[in-house]
Subunit: 216 residues, 4 copies
Amino acid sequence: MKTILLTGFEPFGGEHSNPSWEAVRRLDGKHLHDGSRIVVALLPCAFGAALDVLGTKIRLFAPDLVVCVGQAGGRADLTIERVAINVDDAPIPDNAGSQPIDAAIVADGPAAYFSTLPLKSIVQALRAKGIPASVSQTAGTYVCNHVFYGLMHLASSRHAIRHAGFVHIPYLPEQAAAHPGAPSMSLNMMVEGLMLLLEISVSVKLDSHISGGSTH
Amino acid sequence: MKTILLTGFEPFGGEHSNPSWEAVRRLDGKHLHDGSRIVVALLPCAFGAALDVLGTKIRLFAPDLVVCVGQAGGRADLTIERVAINVDDAPIPDNAGSQPIDAAIVADGPAAYFSTLPLKSIVQALRAKGIPASVSQTAGTYVCNHVFYGLMHLASSRHAIRHAGFVHIPYLPEQAAAHPGAPSMSLNMMVEGLMLLLEISVSVKLDSHISGGSTH
Amino acid sequence: MKTILLTGFEPFGGEHSNPSWEAVRRLDGKHLHDGSRIVVALLPCAFGAALDVLGTKIRLFAPDLVVCVGQAGGRADLTIERVAINVDDAPIPDNAGSQPIDAAIVADGPAAYFSTLPLKSIVQALRAKGIPASVSQTAGTYVCNHVFYGLMHLASSRHAIRHAGFVHIPYLPEQAAAHPGAPSMSLNMMVEGLMLLLEISVSVKLDSHISGGSTH
Amino acid sequence: MKTILLTGFEPFGGEHSNPSWEAVRRLDGKHLHDGSRIVVALLPCAFGAALDVLGTKIRLFAPDLVVCVGQAGGRADLTIERVAINVDDAPIPDNAGSQPIDAAIVADGPAAYFSTLPLKSIVQALRAKGIPASVSQTAGTYVCNHVFYGLMHLASSRHAIRHAGFVHIPYLPEQAAAHPGAPSMSLNMMVEGLMLLLEISVSVKLDSHISGGSTH
């Protein structure tokens, strides 16, 4: 039986909740159609510490698929990240008070890693189900990108991990209510969307040949 | 027993559904805490015809409260409109092919009418329930503003209508899935939000003294 | 010889300059093609006081045309305002510390006044000259709308004022440099745009029949 | 004497001009304070062909510094790109009709290259001069990113090129006039900004330690 590790973050930036953990924890113990079992983990919103927890969980569960999820306040849809870059450049301190600037995540690591999720097939399937989604060309330079890069670096040497990637999700409506004009998504839709993303990730052999790019 | 008339629109602008009607029709026949009964009506997205239907329904039901609801694709929250202006200026043709430009809605009518809903109390109550909402200073110059102005003009001479106003609502998620990057709101939250708006509208005597304004 | 009164505002909201005054003062004493002479005035960013100064200047200069200009940080183009509404609802205090909420500007005044500038011809002429411009359906509910409404109220009883209106302009580049991501416009283009707006305002007899509306 | 190669693009996407070439060509033959001489080149907006021209010009001029410039319609400021990624994913066909999807730019090339311009010092200097600027975390996946990646790949093996990078610039006002609501920047400011960027690039030894990152 395959194991899928799904992670969310604790709140940051003055928020009282983090939609990534709210959504992810609802999938704990669930099974996919192929029998794969989902395990979940909560990551601290802190450089270094987040990757320590992720590494421990990966060693513990030996997952076949790892998807990390983070909050992107201001985005309106589920954004499947294409690429993680080897730099920490924090516009605000993390939850441990650290604010690295232009620091490599992995010294001598490659400049970037591409997601190994079938991005286009995921976006296509989500939209077909009426769930707003798109490919994103940047995961930023904060803890989300840090975890995404660290995950892909780990996965590059652990061949048991067949697919790995990162998804950004919008504010929950109750968060957006405190940020007038900010878009949001219901928790139910986030949960449904993540479940579908996992199903597509374990079943699609060849990603769809459709554009998910942008001119800039 | 009081009667509340709630209206939604048919689809326009190439959409296959209109969230205003999807939400409104789910409230047909429902009762508020004070016993008021909701009746609903579908308005055509057409200048003139929409007001004809609205007028007929108002004469038929003799409502105490009338709230018209319309789709505002691109907005992220429930926007409670403050003011209706006496002009039709259509950027696209309506569903009957008409595209009036700078035409008065009511010849010799006043330049504008203010909503008589308790805007601030509504926004306050919605946010307190975790439903994104704000006051809007413009309902545009298309069929929504046309209906809003026509409604307020009617209400100004029918004293049985104690409150009247207009609410714009975002795309449904399945619409936003076809407009990458556009915000949306779940149908459940729209329905819950409209119900709460009606409860506040019939119960609040004096609107909250908080700002809902904008610098421009 | 005709006189044109053009006004700008002092800085507000923490800014060190206000593009409206920077642009307007460069047009002081200039003449239009028809010989009209421009006089300018600086308005305080304060409810009441701004209208006091405007009224004094109008009595002093007896202008044929009055155009008030204000800053709209976040907008990208010259926005020609269509309508002023009879309400002050300040999201932030004005420069005198006043923050009115839902207060009428003129007790028993009409709900709104429409601009008497040829909005569509102005936008058309500006765009033809490569100057970004559009019609705006709301001037907000702060000091700008307050001045716009007060101006139109005055003009409604002073028939010597043949046209009157309000224009919002973007940040200057040096302001936008402190608001990452905010749009701006060069001072030269603002000055050129306002001059063209005045030329069109004094020369056009019948506004262009093109849409400047919005669906919401 | 040092040589600086500055490139711009031909128009694409239905535009009649490209601000990158309009700005770049005005700097042809100019000298920096240290005596460096600027040479310019026009690149076709076409995958492959653009890199062919760039490679030819680099061999011809043997520049010490190469900065490629491209149009980012919708962005409001000069955005200094941080990273180029090894993928072409075109949302629209290029000027030669080609629309690659998820294709590597350099087979077996690294996933990404970081700019070797002093990004933070550049942004700091531009803002200090009142020119809106910021660091961008994505150059997209179209011809701009293609050229940026190809440039950095070339530079990685040509040690004579001491610095190389990419800058996106907004629409010109005359373009924005045809895209209502789109931000723009004057040609003069673009030219001044690029000149300042080059001065900083040749003179700064150690980039400023300030954040230019984003949370997502």
